[in-house]
């Protein structure tokens, strides 16, 4: 049983998201950048869920969901969009990208019925029987892994904005 408050846990998740976002800006293998960006949005969402006081640390440490729901709420609400610098169209693109990243998290992929990759972090076996790794076989890295790619820049800037405006967006 934790003696820390849910707000303290939320702030810690946000601090870790910030560190992982900073790491994603470095010269990295592209699949590692994709994994870091998935982890960043997962932690930003978890910080919001914990802040609600209705979610437990136990859930935060075992679930990998939340980012897609957070994006659905941000995308649909003009009350929330007004706080953000991105356009409605960019938000819709970001939601698709973040949904895709959430689905590439191995536990989420398995929960959704996929028994093999491609996914982030772990190797997988291809239909031809070859065991491959994210760094060798993760597709669509131009969307969320290539440094300087427009969508990677958009994801990075948006994550930074969510971290900075977290208290404005989530109570």
């Amino acid at each position: 049983m934790s003696s820390a408050t849910s707000d303290e846990w939320a702030k810690a998740y946000l601090r870790q998201a910030s560190v992982e976002l900073e790491a994603s800006r470095a010269e990295l293998t592209e699949s590692i950048r994709a994994m870091l960006l998935q982890m960043v949005f997962e932690k930003i969402a978890k910080a919001a869920l914990l802040k609600s006081g209705q979610w437990t640390v136990d859930k935060a440490q075992t679930s990998h969901l939340g980012a897609s729901h957070m994006m659905q709420l941000l995308t649909r609400s003009s009350r929330l969009r007004v706080h953000l610098s991105v356009s409605e169209g960019q938000l819709r693109s970001l939601k698709l990208l973040i949904d895709e990243l959430e689905g590439l998290q191995p536990a989420n992929a398995r929960a959704r019925g996929r028994t093999t990759g491609p996914w982030l972090e772990y190797p997988w076996e291809t239909p031809t029987g070859l065991v491959t790794t994210p760094s060798e076989g993760l597709p669509n890295l131009d969307r969320y892994g290539v440094r300087g790619a427009p969508t990677v820049d958009l994801l990075t800037r948006f994550a930074q904005e969510l971290i900075e405006k977290h208290d404005l967006l989530f109570a």
Binding site: H69, Q72, R112
Partner: protein, 95 residues
């Protein structure tokens, strides 16, 4: 008012339920806009223009709503509570 706004924002909402609370608006929204992942994810938002109370929103896919008794809800937001109130029902009667 908030529920009506959300129904306009998300045409995929089928039902909205109010979980009564003294200090904030707590809504459970049944919508196909989220996947049936079986997890209950509550987000809280500050009071704002036209909404003088904080609000908590949980979005649930209709498939998860059908099996809501099997899911792990926060005790304060459990739809099994007797005082839950349906604010909106726009399910397709032909479905």
């Amino acid at each position: 008012m908030l529920a009506a706004e959300h129904a306009l924002d998300d045409p995929a909402i089928q039902q909205i339920f109010l979980v009564p609370h003294a200090d904030e608006v707590r809504l459970i929204e049944v919508t196909t806009s989220v996947r049936p992942d079986g997890e209950i994810l509550p987000f809280r938002f500050a009071a704002g223009r036209g909404v003088p109370f904080r609000s908590v929103v949980i979005m649930v896919n209709p498939t998860d709503w059908e099996r809501r008794g099997e899911l792990r809800w926060p005790p304060d937001l459990d739809p099994a509570r007797a005082d839950i109130e349906r604010l909106l029902d726009q399910r397709d009667p032909a479905a």
